[in-house]
């Protein structure tokens, strides 16, 4: 930020004008990504309900091959990861990068629209292919092999302008931790994506090593795309809303570099005790546990930054979602550590806990932070405020309880399932007990996804109304407690 010697009023005015210009330059692409992302999120949660239903009642909706669990489950996860996660993530990344580096999106806006369009076409075709018989059964890469180059190019179209903004704004003195994370995500995702796809689709047979690379891919996308975007967003919005600077730059750096250097090693412990050379799962297990370091460091830093401003969590939708997302980061880290360590991992391996981890990382942690960001960004782009406090509250509570139920039941079901699989008494038993013991958890999962679907339908409608310009015409932001409206104006104060 340039500071001049003119009066504070003029200063604020110029700053506001600059911000408005930056917002205007990224408005279209960012809203496009959010809107499509919210649509895919709703689709994914509906598929989540269906998949959970099919898991305990396989003949529900008849025996149509398109709707069998084996096809629905990957479609549900892929819609969540590629339709919602990466798409909405790109929107948040683009906006924060532009704002934080003080750069307008100079040109190539139409290219971003085209890239966004192609991303959505690729996701649509990919998901339909999974349902109609193109399932490759490689986790998170179930789409047919001709899809990934389209997605890669579309992603790079977004990553490139962000990298140039970062480069222009880079200053030797000081650093901006949120843009570090976002640049990292721009840079790691294509690398991971190309590596996994080339290895699994283009190279000659890799057999069991291919399965290891697949597990590495899933972990890497979680740890080096979803995690950095969510942390970057939290690092941006927590200080923004609380009005307090990030507590410690040393902790911020430590958290970043420990995540960057450890994450690439982890993943293959997913197949512990399997055919991979023993050092691969061992190294994965080690780093899977060591990743508690960035979790603790970043968690502490976020906590110290929020300290003393916890009342804002109640009033600001942005801070409330971000706060909850940031709380889910330690949960996902602990789940990863539990599944990585050989002692506990042997029980949790091949159980529902794995699903629980994916959901806590992609939904509980990442999506909650992104919701927080969306509640902040969209009013600034559309020029109107969120219509209804009730809808935001509805979204928050149904998502929170839904996700908590999915994660807790998956983890407990995992312990139960792992116990049933490994109990010595079970050596000559069939799977009846396991199936019957898991059933209540799966029923709970279906109900939880239905709750989340409910919250997301309203989120989508709310977002559509905002993008259509039908929001509240007001200079006061929509806060969650009317009583405190004049007491706390965090958004107004920080534009």
């Amino acid at each position: 930020m340039q500071t001049t010697h003119s009066s504070a009023d003029t200063d604020l005015h110029t700053d506001n004008l600059r911000r408005a210009a930056i917002d205007k330059s990224v408005k279209g692409p960012v809203l496009f990504l959010f809107l499509n992302g919210a649509f895919w999120l709703m689709a994914s949660t509906i598929l989540g309900v269906l998949a959970a239903l099919k898991l305990f009642a396989p003949s529900f909706l008849g025996d149509c091959p398109i709707l069998q669990y084996g096809r629905l489950q990957p479609t549900h996860i892929n819609a969540l990861v590629y339709g919602w996660g990466i798409q909405a993530g790109l929107g948040v990344m683009l906006w924060i990068m532009a704002r934080r580096s003080g750069q307008e999106l100079k040109n190539g806006k139409s290219l971003l629209y085209v890239a966004g369009l192609f991303w959505n076409i690729a996701v649509t075709l990919g998901l339909l292919s999974i349902l109609f018989g193109g399932n490759t059964s490689m986790e998170w890469l179930e789409m047919p092999k001709w899809i990934w180059p389209i997605m890669l190019v579309a992603f790079l179209c977004f990553a490139w302008p962000m990298a140039t903004m970062f480069g222009r704004a880079f200053r030797p003195e000081g650093f901006m931790i949120s843009t570090w994370y976002i640049l990292g995500a721009c840079f790691w995702f294509p690398w991971i994506f190309v590596t996994a796809n080339v290895a699994l689709h283009c190279l000659p047979a890799l057999g069991a090593l291919g399965a290891g690379i697949n597990a590495w891919y899933v972990h890497s996308v979680i740890l080096l795309f979803f995690t950095p975007v969510a942390i970057g967003s939290a690092y941006y919005f927590i200080p923004k809303v609380t009005g307090q600077p990030i507590a410690s730059s040393q902790l911020a750096q430590l958290g970043f570099w420990s995540l960057a250097s450890l994450s690439g090693w982890t993943g293959m412990q997913h197949f512990m005790g399997g055919p991979l050379p023993a050092w691969m799962p061992a190294v994965g297990a080690l780093t899977g546990v060591l990743l508690l370091v960035p979790v603790g460091v970043v968690g502490l830093n976020h906590h110290l930054t929020t300290l003393g401003k916890h009342d804002l969590v109640a009033t600001s939708p942005t801070l409330r979602f971000t706060f909850l997302g940031a709380l889910f980061y330690p949960v996902s880290g602990i789940m990863l550590a539990l599944m990585s360590a050989f002692s506990t991992g042997a029980t949790l391996q091949f159980t529902n806990a794995w699903y629980g981890f994916q959901i806590v990382a992609v939904y509980g942690f990442f999506s909650m932070c992104v919701f927080g960001a969306i509640y902040y960004i969209v009013p600034r782009l559309t020029g109107c405020e969120w219509l209804s406090v009730r809808l935001i509250r509805n979204h928050f509570w149904f998502s929170t309880y839904g996700i908590a139920v999915v994660v807790v039941t998956s983890l407990v079901a995992g312990v139960q399932q792992g116990g049933d699989l490994n109990h010595p008494e079970m050596w000559d038993q069939d799977f009846m007990q396991l199936v019957l013991n898991t059933r209540p958890y799966i029923v709970a999962r279906a109900i939880a996804w239905a709750m989340i679907t409910w919250s997301n339908v309203w989120f989508l409608i709310h977002l559509i109304l905002m993008v259509a310009g039908l929001g509240r015409r007001s200079s006061a932001p929509t806060l969650l407690h009317h009583d405190h409206e004049d007491a706390a104006h965090p958004h107004g104060a920080h534009a």
Partner: protein
């Protein structure tokens, strides 16, 4: 980070190292793997390990239907899990086998473009299913109507892999012997398609516990072939 180049280079190095060590070098080294010949004197066996490839046509159906979501193909060692001691999960179908089924090696999956180790274990492991599988007809019954075998089963019925048609003259030899609720109308029969046959071929070809060349203890414990 003092300047932009240092920052980018550190970023590249911190991820490039695991990328190189964990993915690239193992992938290159994997290309050099070839079947190993058994030593007639030491192993008492002829031929190569792994001996028989899996049925790839059926594996494509296996992937397409997402069987991996519930079935694993990986036996874990006894110090980690119960897998090896599970009844019938190896070649030895005895109630109390002398030795646990061995865990798998990289070479077990050599003939497969991609090893479907599995996502979850909601149904039994299929690594060595070929040994314990029932007859072809019974296997078709499981695929067509899983709940005709176990009423608690949550396995989907893969009816789309079968054709229900009007019986022409005597009931076809390959027709499924269905009884009760899943039986077709009188005068009709259910026959497997080529895809169902391929899937069954694949399931029957799943035998990954052949003795490892040079592992004499394992060979001694391996019973004679069925």
């Amino acid at each position: 980070m003092s300047n932009f180049r240092t920052f980018i280079l550190t970023l590249i190095a911190s991820f490039g190292l695991p990328w190189l060590c964990l993915i690239i070098i193992p992938a290159i080294k994997y290309q050099a793997l070839t079947p190993v010949a058994y030593d007639k004197d030491k192993d008492g066996l002829d031929g190569y390990y792994p001996p028989a490839p899996i049925n790839r046509q059926g594996q494509i159906i296996y992937a397409r239907e997402g069987c991996v979501q519930c079935h694993t193909q990986m036996i874990r060692p006894p110090q980690l899990a119960l897998d090896g001691w599970r009844k019938g999960w190896g070649q030895d179908q005895e109630a109390r086998p002398a030795a646990p089924t061995r865990s798998n090696t990289l070479l077990d999956y050599l003939s497969e473009p991609y090893a479907f180790l599995g996502v979850q274990r909601i149904g039994p492991d299929l690594t060595n299913y070929g040994w314990r599988a029932p007859s072809r007809g019974a296997l078709h019954l499981i695929l067509y109507a899983p709940r005709s075998i176990h009423d608690w089963s949550t396995m989907p019925a893969f009816k789309s892999l079968y054709i229900e048609r009007k019986a022409q003259g005597p009931v076809a030899e390959e027709a499924l012997k269905l009884t009760g609720k899943s039986a077709p109308k009188a005068g009709y029969e259910v026959v497997p398609t080529a895809e169902a046959e391929a899937l069954v071929d694949y399931l029957l070809s799943l035998k990954k516990d052949y003795p490892i060349p040079g592992a004499t203890a394992a060979v001694a414990a391996t019973p004679a072939k069925k």
